[in-house]
């Protein structure tokens, strides 16, 4: 479209950077699968898997979805939803699994 959009896209990464990020994502996935197969003790495996997942999540959101390069409003809207989701569901899971006289067998 018009100038505004050209400006918006001006500092987006080019194709070669996208491919590099794609490779990083593939490598991270490979490490994750390897951790799952190598019978790494749970105390190490679970945090490692979570960290890798968060990194993959951030790579896609920040680069592929351009959130790093775009208006702060987009970030605010998305982070708001994500934050509310994390907060209320973490609370719900804790209440369901650990609080008081749970009804679960």
């Amino acid at each position: 479209m018009s100038d505004a959009d050209d400006l918006e896209h001006a500092d987006h990464p080019d194709s070669s950077q996208y491919i590099v990020i794609g490779i990083i994502l593939a490598v991270f996935t490979a490490i994750e699968v390897a951790i799952s197969f190598a019978a790494v003790p749970g105390e190490i495996a679970v945090p490692a898997l979570i960290i890798l997942t968060v990194l993959k999540f951030l790579l896609v959101v920040m680069w592929f979805m351009h959130l790093r390069f775009d208006s702060g409003w987009f970030r605010r809207l998305f982070v708001f939803g994500l934050g509310v989701a994390l907060a209320i569901y973490a609370a719900t899971i804790s209440l369901m699994l650990y609080a008081g006289a749970a009804t679960q067998a």
Binding site: F80, A85, I88, L95, M96, A99, G100, A101, A102, T103
Partner: protein
């Protein structure tokens, strides 16, 4: 965003042509004008309001005397369930939507909402949901598990309650009936949720993106702020209930085990999911009324709103804190002392921003030149009644006290003070306030005052006394009660009160209908108001403003009508002093969104997909496919619909 074909519109496919009717039925079905959609929302809401009101009257007739057999237990259960569902999902939410639709774009100086066709889609999907929900009348009965429809009552069909009445004693038929009712509940509310979610996104984008030049966020009227907060609450609350309903649908129709304790599922999960939605929902219902009240009180006090910034932040704070209090609906579930204490505390905290609002309204009136019009009476009445409801709410937050009150009529009294006293009174204030803007005529004030005082009387008789029967031990949702508990006389008076309310609502409808023809001509600004919707004609032209106003202050219109004198006082300037110059012919120069058939058509497919689940095997697949093709096909046609007139 549409790809506009290069060829002339006539040569494109006939099916993709834009509708042309400007009057009559088709102009309403195909409209994308936010004002027409707002009016349709209001009328549909009134229809549902009357239906739910009649349901309430039937309930009250049944409870007027002990051991009454006016209604069978099964019918009673369906009626109280549908009263709650209808009032919350088909009156409360769309009533807010009707005000948002009509007023909000005018208040921010926009020509329409950001996505006019999506707006029409929201309305038609909402209608489809209502029709789907009430189609149970023909399909073996309406939902009967209460508006929060707790599992496992909803999911399990034990020795079935409906079996012996509707199924004629056949367990199998009873199971079918029960499943159908729960499908109506789960699918009907999912469809309504789609409508609500679409309009929430629409309103958020409209408010963020379509403000008039100079209208910064902190210059927006409080009503617009409350619209924004409500839209965000809907945006995040609807998905929670949406998934819970989706899971419930699989439980009742396909034998999934989310909430079925017999197979290891946990009914408490349903309660958490329901109230994670349900408590924000309370604020979704009441904040539009807060916004309306915040417009009426400054206008009729001739003062700017007291503590605008505090008002805005209190609204936003309610929006945030509203997420942290849901489990106070579940104190009696057995979450343990730590969780109960935590939620008791957050519940008490949320009274603080609410209190800020109440004190700010009082501060606005303090020292103002009050004009007690009907609109103002309703607004002040709403503040007073909501305060009573808020105070009984604080008593619920005290856990030991809550154990005594839960599931009693005290709770019924509480939420009717909040929702009837707050939402309905506030919204009726809005009706009297904006009716002249919508129709160009004023409503009758004498009838209006009678309407207000009879409603006030009937409301307090009905719900005020429910506090007492509740504390004297009467449980909610019982279809009858034995004589001699000391509830008899009060129940009779409550029923009389309910009929006074009904009479008052009748007065309102008469007033609205007769003022349409006989009301005094209003003019652009009958109330000497403060915000820019009163700058344009009444009713506004379809493009709202000939010239989008340049905003330089909160209460822009008031500032245009007044100037600062040498003594520093505001003095009125002659009309037209801050006039705007019309630089074009609005009918040709302002490009407004075209009408479209497809939003309404897309809505048609949804209940068909819903009804599919009432059948099985091939029939189900065929119906699902038909509904899916209608909806998806309409959405495709919508996406590629050309503009009605091109080449400019």
């Amino acid at each position: 965003m549409n790809a506009v074909p290069a060829e002339s519109p006539r040569s494109s496919l006939k099916i993709l042509q834009r509708p042309k009717a400007e009057t009559g039925l088709w102009s309403w079905i195909t409209t994308t004008d936010h004002k027409k959609i707002g009016v349709m929302y209001f009328l549909a809401t009134m229809v549902f309001f009357v239906i739910a009101g009649v349901e309430a009257l039937l309930l009250r007739i049944q409870l007027a005397v002990p051991e009454n057999d006016f209604l069978s237990p099964d019918v009673y259960n369906q009626l109280y369930t549908m009263h709650g569902i209808t009032m919350v999902f088909f009156v409360g939410i769309p009533l807010g939507a009707s005000f948002f639709n009509y007023i909000m774009p005018l208040q921010i100086g926009a020509r329409d909402v950001a996505f006019p066709r999506l707006n029409a889609f929201s309305f038609w999907v909402f209608c489809a949901a209502g029709i789907f929900m009430y189609s149970g009348v023909l399909l073996g009965g309406l939902p009967n598990g209460g508006w929060f429809n707790y599992a496992p009552l909803s999911t399990t069909v034990g020795p079935d309650v409906s079996g012996y009445t509707v199924g004629g004693g056949s367990a199998e038929l009873g199971t079918q009936v029960h499943m159908g009712r729960m499908l109506l509940y789960s699918i009907g509310l999912q469809i309504a949720g789609i409508a609500t979610l679409a309009s929430a996104i629409n309103f958020i984008v409209t408010i963020l993106n379509l403000r008039a030049p100079g209208m910064t966020l902190m210059r927006m009227p409080i009503f617009v702020w409350m619209t924004l907060v409500v839209a965000f609450l809907l945006l995040f609350a609807i998905p929670v209930i949406g998934i819970a309903l989706w899971q419930l649908m699989f439980d009742v129709r396909f034998g999934a085990n989310f909430f079925n304790p017999a197979a290891g599922g946990d009914p408490v999960l349903w309660q958490h999911m329901f109230w994670l939605f349900g408590h924000p929902e309370v604020y979704i219902l009441i904040l539009p009324a807060f916004g309306i009240i915040s417009e009426i009180i400054p206008t009729f006090s001739r003062k700017p709103i007291f503590g605008y910034t505090a008002m805005v932040f209190a609204g936003v704070a309610i929006g945030f804190l509203g997420w942290g209090v849901w489990a106070h609906h579940m104190f009696a579930v057995g979450m343990g002392p730590v969780a109960n204490t935590a939620f008791a505390l957050t519940t008490m905290f949320i009274a603080v921003p609410t209190g800020v609002k109440i004190f700010n309204w009082i501060g606005t009136m303090w020292g103002g030149k009050l004009r007690l019009t009907t609109a103002m009476l309703f607004a002040v009445g709403a503040v007073a009644m909501f305060t009573i409801g808020g105070l009984s709410g604080v008593t619920h937050s005290v856990v030991p006290s809550n154990y005594q009150q839960t599931d009693s009529y005290y709770v019924v009294a509480h939420f009717h003070y909040v929702l009837f006293g707050g939402l309905v009174f506030g919204a009726l204030g809005g009706v009297y306030y904006w009716y002249p803007k919508v129709t160009g005529r004023l409503m009758n004030e004498t009838l209006g005052r009678t309407n207000f005082w009879t409603l006030m009387l009937g409301f307090n008789l009905t719900f005020g006394l429910m506090h007492f029967v509740g504390l004297w031990g009467m449980p909610r949702r019982i279809d009858t009660y034995a004589a001699g508990f000391g509830w008899d006389l009060l129940n009779l008076i409550i029923t009389v009160g309910a009929f006074i309310i009904a009479g008052s609502v009748l007065l309102l409808i008469i007033n609205m209908a007769s003022s349409l023809r006989r009301g005094q001509i209003a003019g652009d600004d009958p109330w000497d108001a403060r915000t820019i919707e009163w700058m344009t004609s009444s009713p506004p032209a379809h493009y709202n403003f000939k010239e989008v106003p340049q905003i330089s202050a909160r209460d822009e219109l008031w500032h245009r009508k007044h100037a600062v004198s040498e003594q520093g006082d505001y003095v009125r300037v002659p009309a037209g002093g801050a006039g705007t110059v019309v630089i074009h012919d609005p009918d040709t120069d302002i490009h407004m969104p075209d009408p479209s058939f497809y939003p309404a058509l897309a809505a048609v497919g949804m209940p068909i997909m819903g009804w599919a689940l009432f059948t099985s095997g091939t029939g189900m697949i065929v119906l699902l496919a038909v509904g899916c093709v209608i909806t998806v096909g309409a959405l495709f046609a919508w996406a590629f619909e050309p503009m009605a007139e091109e080449g400019h």
